[in-house]
Amino acid sequence: MFLKGKIRKTISRIILYFLVIFIILWTLAPFTWLFLSGIFPHQELLSDRATNWFPKNPTLKNYSSMFNMKSHIGQRFVFAFRNSLIISGSVTIICLLFGTMAAYALARLKFPFKNNIVMSLISIRMIPTVALVIPFFVIIRSFDYLFIQINSQFHLYDTKLNLVILYVTFILGFVIWIMRGFFLTIPHELEEAARIDGCSRVQALIKIILPLSAPGLVATGIFTFLLAWDEFVLALVFTKTTNSITVPVFITSLGSQYIHAFDQIAASGFIASLPPIILALVFQKFLIKGLTAGSTKG
């Protein structure tokens, strides 16, 4: 009897480690392949994979050329990287700022039509982005036309500001919905206590609620950053020069119709995935706590 139990336990441990190794391979294998593809010289790219997992002449040229400001590709990549960082960062800050305020109102304050507003906010994300591309484009170009008429240098098309505005609009509803969930999990008593001590609602928000929902803020922030970093369709239509191109647009533009530049795509793709990954790794503790608290209260 005793032995049977021990054997069972050992078997289940073995299965467990087997599964763990599976998870590790599952997660890391494609990544490793991505990185390796980036160190293949272009000539060796099409060699038989069964025998050539590692290039005979590995080169870091693909990676270094992405940062070589003298080459056209390097220039475009560095600018795209910079633009993406600025855009995603701004979107995250703005969404967290405005979204948290609105979420607080929806979670704590009493006023009519509360539920309808919540529903409409998430509904925005239900329309496929592609549907709004042409209307957006026409409207924005019309604005630019107006600006030119009144002799202003200001324009919207092909700017980072344009993308920031568009992204904030699409992601804001999402942020509000999640942050509202977090706020709902925080007991009213804590706030009541603070207010009895003389704090106004806003002070209570800043001093009590925000610190408590820090995990939620971090989680939502990372999520927002990722959504903005990732976005493809709107960026494709509204960017033109290095003024505003983003990383997804850059990667799509690699190669030509007749050359599949997988080595370049892999190298730039790998680099492009680093900021979100670094963010995620740094904040992963908060991430777990954050996501769950918000979600269980919908």
Partner: protein, 316 residues
């Protein structure tokens, strides 16, 4: 120290706090939304410097509902994509979470890396899998199959191909054909699932953390095996989280565009791709708008369904 600081009434404060958000959303999205909705009742085409319109009333909507050969096949394939992806994501996500919930050497490390696929931008993910699935000898998947001796050395499978999978199995094969599934689509489902599973894993893992060990101990004493423990304890307590996952993921999956467009351009017509093709390639702005609102309606209905289920679970 009483609450005698003058502060805005509940209503006023609420509107002050919400106004920036509402202003932004109204100003930016409502205009185009209304414009798109307006266009959907017209036959609209681009001409130099603007759009030429001709009123057709419900014509566009009727066209898609009754006449268009592609609309319903597009809906079918999108539903297939959504449904299968969801199942895979749930199974893998819950499975991984269960494993990560146990203690083992290196658990911290594994928990850190589990997030990596999710952090990869969609465009990069699509290109990477395109490269892995390449249907020649330089494709990594083909190479792997050969190394594992599953494929003979000179056989290269075209992974992103159009054969109907499992077509020889009686009922399943017919279902696959009806739905429009292809090997390519299944491989793309796998690629997308790989990227998204970490999200599910994390949510489930966090929820698992809140279940006290004592529940399982008690069940163990009562003689319940692992399987029973899962269905009896774990699953019911996970339901709120699972429903959230369902809502989030269904919305995103139904609207899928990026990965399918990058890999297959227009040859797999999920509704997102079909809308893009109609509006941007064929330049039928009226029809494109109508299609989008149709899709939006679908998603809204599904979301309402989920929300009804979700809020009834509030008791947890």
């Amino acid at each position: 120290m009483a609450i005698n600081r003058k502060e805005l009434s509940s209503n006023r404060l609420a509107w002050v706090m919400m106004s920036p958000s509402i202003l932004i959303i109204l100003a930016v999205v409502i205009g185009p939304l209304v414009f798109a909705f307006y266009l959907s009742f017209y036959k609209a085409e681009p001409v130099i410097g603007g759009i030429a319109t001709k009123f057709v009333g419900w014509g566009n909507y009727i066209y898609y509902f009754l006449q268009d050969p592609l609309f319903w096949s597009s809906v079918r394939i999108t539903v297939y994509f959504t449904f299968i992806s969801l199942i895979l994501e749930l199974i893998l996500g819950i499975g991984f979470a269960l494993v990560l919930n146990k203690s083992f050497i290196g658990r911290g490390f594994v928990r850190s890396i589990i997030l990596l696929p999710w952090a990869l931008p969609t465009v990069v993910n699509a290109r990477m899998w395109e490269w892995i699935y390449a249907g020649s000898s330089f494709g990594a998947l083909n190479g792997l199959m050969k190394v594992l001796r599953i494929f003979p050395p000179d056989y290269d499978k075209v992974w992103l191909g159009f054969e109907v999978p499992l077509r020889n199995i009686p009922l399943i094969g017919q279902f696959m054909e009806w739905v429009g599934a292809t090997t390519a689509l299944n491989m793309i489902i796998f690629a997308d699932t790989w990227k998204v599973t970490p999200l599910v894993t994390l949510l489930v893992l966090a929820a698992l953390q809140t279940i006290p060990d004592s529940y399982y101990e008690a069940a163990g004493i009562d003689g319940a095996g692992a399987w029973k423990q899962f269905w009896g304890i774990t699953f019911p307590l996970l339901r709120p989280v699972l429903l959230v996952v369902l809502v989030l993921r269904t919305m995103e999956l139904f609207r899928v565009f990026d990965i399918i467009y990058i890999l297959m351009q227009y040859s797999i017509r999920v509704v997102g791709v079909y809308t893009f093709e109609t509006g941007m390639k064929f330049l039928r702005f009226g029809r494109g708008s109508a299609l989008s609102f149709f899709v939006g309606l679908f998603i809204l209905l599904i979301a309402l369904l989920y929300v009804k289920l979700l809020y009834s679970e509030e008791t947890y």
